[in-house]
């Protein structure tokens, strides 16, 4: 059996249950693919011994007939998730060598269901970035290239390693986290599916915090069905996270009927931006038509405060980050700067944080401290929170009017080149999040579905935004879209 690593979760599940191959076979295929993937720089740590051990345990469960859907499925785990005894450093130097003595709730649920850990995946430092270029491990590289151009492209970010690993078939699926688009944007850049669940669906316990009121874990997979399967294992109430919702875990896969007749899909006019490439606009229209052909009703909707979302996000997220990252001080764990004779605690803080954090993290910590400081709090933080309320109300109104899902482009462009934005104004990089941040600010579920290739042969994605707690319905619409589009392109292996 060759190229088992290219399987989807659902096919692998069925094959494992039928006994076509073992979890060990599957894991070995992925380990081999991962081992030969240095050029993608998707992994920050490989855990082959653990993978084999977990695969064997999964085979025992399969044999005993006690195998949940995720049993034996090899996964990559974003470096933001704490994994017990395994290097976890949020792609930051400041957590150099940190091995947590605990396992995040989300990953422990995946292991509970028999999934196999291949290793940890590259990302932007503390999930701050849209290109994986802020990682202390160096950038992950997109498996896709422009037609006739050898330039290395970014897989997007912050879950860039996860996207590259899934698109490059180094694993069957990966975990990601999404604070402003960090699952959906890289999914769109690499032609895979990425789901950001409703805020509170997945426990945040054990996930290194970036912006607590926005962070949410989610699956990054090859198909919508795979996301539905994996999401079920990741979600659920956790008493250790006060913001975790105490709701039953739905069978998301069972919701994938493909029947969206009678559903109402909103097309928000504010997402038609100046300077947006024509091919993205065309893609969006095509997607809408396909949903209509499948029996859904299209309505034009208005989300009038959309244009304030990005500025509000870049106040709130850095504000929370500046506080969340205060614990990295060199006192307890991770990196501590070498001190000169006579240096005191202040020098220890300053040198440790100066050495430990990269420029983008420092920039956001400073922005965050500034917007929270006395005299500026009302003008920035409080105002941004008011904007956030208005954005949430925009969505509430649209949903109250009977809209089931909202269709938008996932990103304003296809993947760009590594280093291309190096000298650009940081705001240009922030614009990557323009279609995705509103979802985080409103706490809604969103999914990015691969929808086609641009003229350069690079994948583009469409985003569906669902009602709160209606991931099942949202994924069913995504499934209908995926089926209609029939996206089947794969990057050519060059690495």
């Amino acid at each position: 059996m060759s190229e088992l690593n290219k399987l989807t979760i659902s096919d692998a599940r069925d094959g494992l249950r039928k006994g076509d191959f073992t979890a060990r076979d599957l894991t070995d295929a992925c380990l081999a693919a991962a081992a030969g993937s240095e050029k993608l720089n998707a992994f920050s740590a490989h855990t082959p011994d653990r993978a084999v051990e977990m695969a064997d345990a999964a085979d025992a469960r399969l044999k005993a007939g006690d195998a949940p859907d995720m049993c034996g499925i090899p996964l990559g785990i974003k470096d933001l998730f704490s994994t017990e005894g395994v290097q976890t450093q949020a792609a930051s130097r400041i957590l150099d060598g940190f091995r947590p003595p605990y396992e995040s709730t989300v990953t422990s649920q995946l292991w509970r269901d028999g999934a196999v850990m291949l290793g940890k995946l590259n990302m932007d430092e503390f999930a701050m970035g849209s290109s994986n270029e802020t990682s202390t491990y160096g950038p992950a590289v997109n498996p896709w290239k422009r037609k006739g151009d050898d330039a290395a492209l970014t897989p997007g970010g912050s879950s860039g390693g996860s996207a590259a690993a899934v698109a490059g078939d180094l694993c069957l699926a990966a975990t990601g986290t999404d604070t402003g688009g960090s699952i959906r944007q890289p999914a769109a850049f690499t032609g895979i599916v990425g789901v950001k669940p409703t805020y509170g669906r997945c426990s945040r316990w054990g996930i290194v915090a970036f912006a607590s009121s926005l962070d949410q874990a989610g699956p990054m997979t090859k198909t919508v069905r795979d996301s539905a399967i994996m999401l079920k294992s990741m979600v659920g109430h956790d008493a250790k996270d006060s913001t975790s919702a105490n709701l039953p875990v739905p069978d998301f896969e069972a919701a994938l009927t493909g029947d969206i007749r009678g559903k109402t899909i909103g097309i928000p006019k504010e997402y038609r931006m100046d300077g947006m490439p024509q091919e993205i606009e065309d893609l969006w229209s095509r997607g809408a038509e396909m949903l209509k052909d499948a029996g859904a009703k299209l309505v034009d909707v208005s989300l009038p405060h959309t244009k304030y979302a990005l500025p509000a996000y870049y106040v709130i997220a850095p504000a929370e980050a500046s506080s969340n990252l205060a614990r990295y001080d060199g006192v307890k764990y991770g990196h501590r700067a070498k001190l000169a004779p006579g240096d005191g605690i202040t020098e220890m803080y300053e040198k440790t944080r100066a050495e430990g954090f990269g420029d983008e993290v420092k920039r956001r910590v400073m922005i965050g401290a500034y917007v929270l400081s006395s005299g500026f709090y009302d003008a920035y933080y409080l105002r941004a929170q008011k904007v956030r309320t208005l954005i949430r109300q925009d969505f509430e109104k649209v949903f109250a009017d009977g809209v089931d899902s909202i269709l938008t482009p996932a990103t304003p462009s296809a993947a760009f080149g590594i280093g291309e934005m190096a000298d650009a104004d940081p705001i240009k990089m922030y614009l990557n999040d323009v279609f995705t941040v509103t979802v985080n600010l409103a706490g809604l579920p969103g999914v990015s579905v691969p929808a086609g290739l641009d003229a350069d042969g690079l994948p583009l994605g469409l985003q569906l935004i669902g009602r709160p707690w209606e991931e099942g319905d949202m994924l069913n619409t995504a499934y209908a879209l995926e089926t209609a589009i029939g996206f089947s392109s794969k990057p050519e292996k060059w690495w």
């Binding site: 704490s82 976890t88 949020a90 957590l95 940190f98 947590p100 003595p101 605990y102 995040s104 945040r204 316990w205 054990g206 996930i207 290194v208 915090a209 912006a211 607590s212 009121s213 008493a239 250790k240 996270d241 006060s242 913001t243 504000a319 929370e320 500046s322 506080s323 990252l325 205060a326 614990r327 001080d329 006192v331 307890k332 764990y333 605690i345 803080y349 401290a369 929270l372 400081s373 006395s374 709090y377 933080y381």
Partner: protein, 503 residues
């Protein structure tokens, strides 16, 4: 509820070189919530554990760890609020107070700046019987304690103990209604008494369970009254905050020093800088810790890891229904029900266990007599031995029996004290001891008459003198008591002596 009438004390006045000055004091008391585990983690709050043993992953601020509110701490804060007659805010919220310090692993303290759990209340500070100050409480909020930095274990390094990190504190903020050092100490004492009655804080100042930040300013006589009329702080002087006081004595000393320091500055034509100061008990002075300009910008904002606290009115009402009788009510009731003085009632109400013991003794007996015995004999003796009421060798029932024996005339007051000593050291039923050891008073007039006659016969000179000078009769009474081993009824002896001497 009965309330005792009182008048307000005069504010403390300090005579400056040029004029008189009054003191204005507000306090922020940090009371450690009595609870088994911390405010946001399951780690133990036990005092005196080995360093860094009562530390959870949350307390150590490991990456990805999240706080979860301890419901019991919330209940304790609500109970405290109800105990000071305060409004309970059914909606409250936690904020982060950001600053860097090694004993603050998160880099922020979770506190309640914008929406505290308890609103306005009051504490009646008793100065002496009939004189008390009503101090308004502005708010109580819940917050995390910090850990402890240790700088004296190594010449090069500092160490951190996180055992206390995350323990729940109630910050009880008063209005500037305290008018002198003694009032400040009494305020803390009264607050501690209420907290102990409620069981919400053990009040142990040595262990740091109760600490106070004291805001001190001075003003000209009359200015404070203007502030109270208008609510305008402009009438008051600039205040300095003296941080982290954990002794009543130091609180008084620090306030006195600080007031005099401010007066000296003002009379020199200077102005007081608003700043944070520390009290050095060795030198008896306060010194600047940081000025207003150096003050931290704490960058408060709502903690995104926690949902707002939403309390049910019925839940609050149930806590209210379960409140114990508090010191003010209890004192008033003891005065009314047992006819004792307010002073005695205050002494008896110092601790709930004291008052309970007293009531057990006084039940069905003379309240004043019971108060005398409990306060003078029992408390006196307990103090001498350094014992708490819970450790008393003489039970309320035993003490009650002793009092009953006096009432029945079986023993005199003096014998009763001997009996008390026997019960204290040997235990046993006081009535049986009196019987067994022949301690009963002799009331048989025949025996007394014989003893009197004997003493008169033995001392003819003194008998002669006594007939001239009746006050000498006392000497005869004493001799007879001595001869009867103190068991004779003194009243009967007195009568017999007077009769026999023909007085």
């Amino acid at each position: 509820m009965t309330e005792l009438a009182y008048t307000e004390p005069k504010p403390k006045t300090i005579a400056g070189a040029k004029s008189d000055w009054e003191l204005v004091i507000g306090m922020e008391v940090h009371a450690q919530v009595s609870s088994n585990s911390k405010l946001f983690s399951g780690a133990s709050t036990a005092f005196g554990a080995e360093p860094n043993t009562n530390v959870s992953l949350v307390d150590a601020a490991m990456p990805g760890m999240l706080p979860v509110i301890n419901d019991f701490c919330v209940e304790q804060a609500v109970r405290t609020g109800l105990g000071i007659k305060a409004g309970i805010n059914l909606y409250s919220r936690f904020d982060r107070k950001n600053y860097f310090y090694p004993d603050l692993p998160q880099g922020y303290q979770i506190s309640q700046l914008y929406h505290p759990i308890v609103g306005e209340g009051e504490v009646l500070v008793d100065m002496e019987p009939g004189i008390a100050r009503k101090v308004r409480i502005e708010r109580i909020h819940l917050e995390q304690d910090a850990g402890k930095s240790v700088h004296d274990m190594d010449p090069e390094m500092s160490f951190v103990d996180l055992n206390r990190t995350g323990v729940a504190l109630m910050e009880i903020v008063s209005r500037p209604d305290i008018r002198g050092p003694e009032e400040a100490a009494e305020y803390v004492r009264k607050l501690r008494q209420i907290l102990r009655y409620l069981g919400t804080c053990d009040g142990n100042m040595q262990e740091g369970s109760l600490r106070a930040d004291v805001n001190v300013s001075v003003c000209a006589p009359g200015a404070y009254e203007k502030y109270r009329e208008t609510g305008d702080f402009g009438h008051l002087g600039t205040r300095c905050e003296i941080k982290n006081m954990n002794s009543m004595r130091f609180i008084q000393q620090a306030i006195d020093f600080e007031a005099r320091r401010q007066i000296a500055i003002l009379e020199d034509g200077g102005s007081v800088d608003q700043e944070t100061r520390l009290y050095d008990p060795n030198k008896g002075e306060t010194r600047s810790m940081r000025s207003k300009e150096e003050a931290h910008d704490y960058r408060y904002f709502p903690c995104p890891d926690l949902l707002p606290l939403q309390l049910e009115q019925a839940w609050v009402d149930a806590i209210r229904d379960g409140l114990p009788e508090l010191p003010d009510e209890k004192k008033a009731r003891l005065v009314t029900d047992y006819g004792i003085t307010e002073y005695d009632a205050s002494v008896l109400c110092a601790r709930r266990a004291h008052a309970d013991f007293y009531e057990e003794v006084a039940s069905g007996r003379d309240g004043k007599q019971a108060a005398n015995w409990v306060i003078n004999e029992l408390f006196g003796r307990l103090n001498k031995q350094g014992l708490e009421i819970e450790e008393t060798p003489v039970s309320a029932a035993q003490l009650g029996t002793i009092i009953d024996l006096i009432g029945k005339g079986d023993i005199s007051g003096k014998i009763a004290k001997d009996l008390f000593e026997i019960v204290w050291s040997e235990g046993g039923d006081p009535a049986e001891i009196v019987e067994a050891r022949g301690m009963k008073q002799v009331t048989d007039t025949g025996a007394i008459d014989a003893a009197v006659a004997q003493v008169i016969a033995d001392n003819p000179d003194k008998a002669e003198q006594a007939r001239e000078k009746p006050s000498m009769a006392g000497w005869f009474v004493g001799q007879v008591m001595k001869a009867t081993g103190g068991k004779a009824n003194p009243k009967a002896v007195n009568e017999a002596v007077r009769r026999k001497l023909g007085l």
